[in-house]
Amino acid sequence: MALEDICNFNCKPMHKSLTFHTLEDTSSSVFTDSFDLKWRAELTSKKTSEVPLEFHVPCLFRRPSSQASQSVSVRRPFPLSHGTTTLGFIFQGGVIAAADTRASAGGLVACPAVHKITPIHSHLVVTSSGSGADCMLWERILIREIRLYQLRHKRRLSIRGTAKLLSFMLHPFKGTDVCVALTLCGWDKDDSLIYVCSDGARLQGDIFSVGSGSPYAYGVLDGSLRWSLSKEEAISLAREAVFRATHRDAYSGNNVDLFHVTAEGWKQRQREDLKEEYYRDMEKKGKKIDLKMQKLPK
């Protein structure tokens, strides 16, 4: 995607012949048409003059407050997936990002093994929450824009800049059904943890948890999180917070993904099934476990 744009590669996708424009195509076509190897040339959008990108917002997407009666709204074939538990926090040993792996669509578990934490570059990962499709798309757009920035300016954009760029890119879609709540977790000399949401919120902080399971996660984290935790303690705290949230929240569950970001970059821990955490917890409480399911203590 980024390489195509920078090389001015005019590849018309196959389904361009259809009458509707997907967001992806219009934005990349805008760039390939007017990007003529002037590396500093940037487009200005008519709507928000600060944003260096031009987005064609199809007339389907209209703010609920306006009274246009002839807007054709597309009926969704199934309810959008929204449930999740993701969290991120800073401690002395870096930044931890953790998330569950369940994608729910209404009452159905659409997929039990989704990746909700995506690396953007070697020192930044993003945890996603909200609508699965929107998050996947916007992560990809963000990866492309960060890579383009790096190619154009020969340095990596800071995390604060990344958050601002993402927030400005999402702004035209405020009031529509786009639902993304991303937490950028990275290693930076300034801010390391920033929460960006499609409502427009952009918050820097030391601890964030997002999603339907977030209140449960906050309950565990707020009590035990300290700056001076060791790496193992922080990882087990994050895992426990996700576990408790998935225990109570119906829309979170299955496995837990953990990323640890330090000055050397991000490291991913092996995905772990939360039932292991459940059995460990039961053992700790001294409860009897069904003999058939007994696991060896860790």
């Binding site: 600060e50 209209r62 703010r63 927030s167 702004h171 949401c197 409502d199 952009r202 209140p215 906050y218």
Partner: protein
């Protein structure tokens, strides 16, 4: 849910804002600053819908600074307030209105201190004291009762503390800390954060 308050004295303006950034029922941040520095002697306090506040406030902030770069002198608080109101009014009947409530506080070398109240319907009023949010319902009567035009700075801070104590006592939400700033002829001064203990 959010609270802003401003009190104008004979040669200063005292402003305070709560520190909570919330998302539905969760407090996402406890130390969020809702004041935007427009220039050396003008502060814009901004509350309202999540993205609109920062977008609008930063837009005004950059435009005020652009004016200074272009013309060599700064906008006065009254001019900045009218500029802000005009922008709110222009966007009000567009497809993308900004839902923000503002207090603009500034010190003009010619006209003295000024406090301007603006709301999301782009009304503008210069007032000796003002407040935004549900907390305003509880505290405006306290301001009415104790305010006098020649308040000293200590008395103004006391009045502010009275308001915050009332919020702590009667407001259903827990707003436990407030950023306080004072603007006078020497610029913007950060004052001690006002915190209230548990009820």
């Amino acid at each position: 849910m959010e609270y802003l308050i401003g009190i104008q004295g004979p040669d200063y303006v005292l402003v305070a804002a709560d520190n909570v950034a919330a998302s539905s029922i969760i407090q996402m941040k406890h130390d969020y600053d809702k004041m935007f520095k427009l220039s050396e002697k003008i502060l814009l306090l901004c509350v309202g819908e999540a993205g609109d506040t920062v977008q609008f406030a930063e837009y005004i902030q950059k435009n005020v600074q652009l004016y200074k770069m272009r013309n060599g002198y700064e906008l006065s608080p009254a001019a900045a307030a009218n500029f802000t109101r005009k922008n709110l009014a222009d966007y009000l009947r567009s497809r993308t209105p900004y839902h923000v409530n503002l207090l603009l506080a500034g010190y003009d070398d010619a006209d003295g201190p000024g406090l301007f109240y603006m709301d999301y319907l782009s009304s503008l009023a210069k007032a000796p004291f003002a407040a935004h949010g549900y907390g305003a319902f509880l505290t405006l009567s306290i301001l009415d009762r104790y305010y006098k035009p020649d308040l000293t700075r200590e008395e103004a801070v006391d009045l502010l503390r009275k308001c915050v104590e009332e919020l702590n006592k009667r407001f259903i939400l827990n707003l436990h800390s407030f950023n306080v700033r004072l603007i006078d002829k020497d610029g913007i001064h950060d004052m001690e954060k006002l915190t209230v203990g548990a009820k």
